[in-house]
Symmetry: C2
Subunit: 191 residues, 2 copies
DNA sequence: TGAATCATGTAATAGGTTACATGATTCT
DNA sequence: AGAATCATGTAACCTATTACATGATTCA
């Protein structure tokens, strides 16, 4: 049993929040800013079938109260496990270098599924990898900037600025979760 | 004759800068920060064959001076045309919403292929579309933020911050190209 | 001489895109 | 009654990934 596609994990994450039909999932994907995913039926229904074949989701009801067919899907415990494994994976350099979208998708589902402590761990390791990655890019720019066209150089700078904005963001987010986790620990101690 | 994949355009752009073999293109892709592309032979060689079938590139030499085979590839005029058409396409909302990587790839090749005036036009229309897009996201956040998890909200904010950093960047880049284009116009007048 | 790298490919597989198909139901 | 939308799919096509294959050449 090897990894799913990003769409597969996105569907697992959405179903963790709420049981839904394929049609509802399509609407969620196309109606929210996370909707850079294929909301086309030709992508979603085959993806759902694959999840079902791997026993990660199950059809809960083919409820037709008014008569309209609607297959409600829900995560199995294996599905929750696979989702958690994906979310809990360490942040790698390859992730920050070329799979930022996947990182943000993971983060969006994270505190509901793994809790605040794990989310804080994720943010800290994301921050660490970003702090490693940005100097690699700036060093490349210093070394090869002179050989590049103006727009090539600017395109690279745009990437660096984006990563720097992300670093700022992780620091703010870490602050928020630190407060939350600290509060919880106090509560636990006072019990 | 319909559109190529992003990898196809990336290869055209690289070949516009300099004739190269498939192997060299692989090295460029894997050795530069633009290397989030597939540098695997299973992607590049078929992509090159497709470009050749469409007469966008041509084998210049099977030069074997020392004996080693090396197919040098170069753009045909049709290839330059296709590259220019891709670069000159207007920036759409769909582009800023889900194809930022393609936009930056286009920009990186732009001033060499289309010149500074077209690059300035591109930057202005990119800025305009970003100015439209950010309010859409913030409005979504205002309306649905209360129903979202903390990490979901933060993930969305991360996206917004990234776009705002890009707006800043476009403004700086516009300033740079305005100076350049202005200088050129002065020169032309004095002739 | 053996290892690394140059240099180009192919085959199996999987997944996404586009377009089409189907039928029920709500709305006007 | 006709249009829009609900709801679920299928089929053809294309492309990327992964892994393998091949042979030459440089280097230690």
């Amino acid at each position: 049993m090897q990894g799913l596609t990003l769409l597969g994990y996105a569907l697992l994450g959405l179903l963790h929040g709420k049981n839904a039909s394929g049609y509802e999932l399509r609407k969620i994907i196309s109606g929210t800013p996370m909707g850079r995913f294929s909301n086309s039926p030709g992508a979603i229904y085959p993806a759902l079938r694959r999840l079902e074949e791997r026993k990660l989701i199950r059809v809960t009801a083919i409820a037709e109260p008014g008569g309209r067919a609607r297959r409600a899907l829900r995560l199995t415990s294996a599905g929750v496990g696979e989702l958690k494994r994906w979310l809990a994976a360490p942040v790698s350099q390859a992730d920050v270098a070329s799979h930022t979208d996947a990182l943000m998708l993971r983060f969006a589902f994270m505190d509901c599924v793994l809790g605040e402590t794990a989310t804080l761990t994720f943010l800290r390791s994301l921050n660490r990898e970003l702090q490693v990655h940005v100097p690699l890019l700036t060093k490349y720019l210093e070394r090869h900037g002179a050989d590049m066209s103006v727009s090539g150089r600017l395109a690279l700078e745009s990437g660096i600025l984006g990563y720097e904005a992300q670093i700022q963001w992780t620091e703010r987010a870490i602050g928020i979760y630190q407060k939350k986790v600290g509060r919880d620990e106090k509560k636990r101690k006072s019990n």
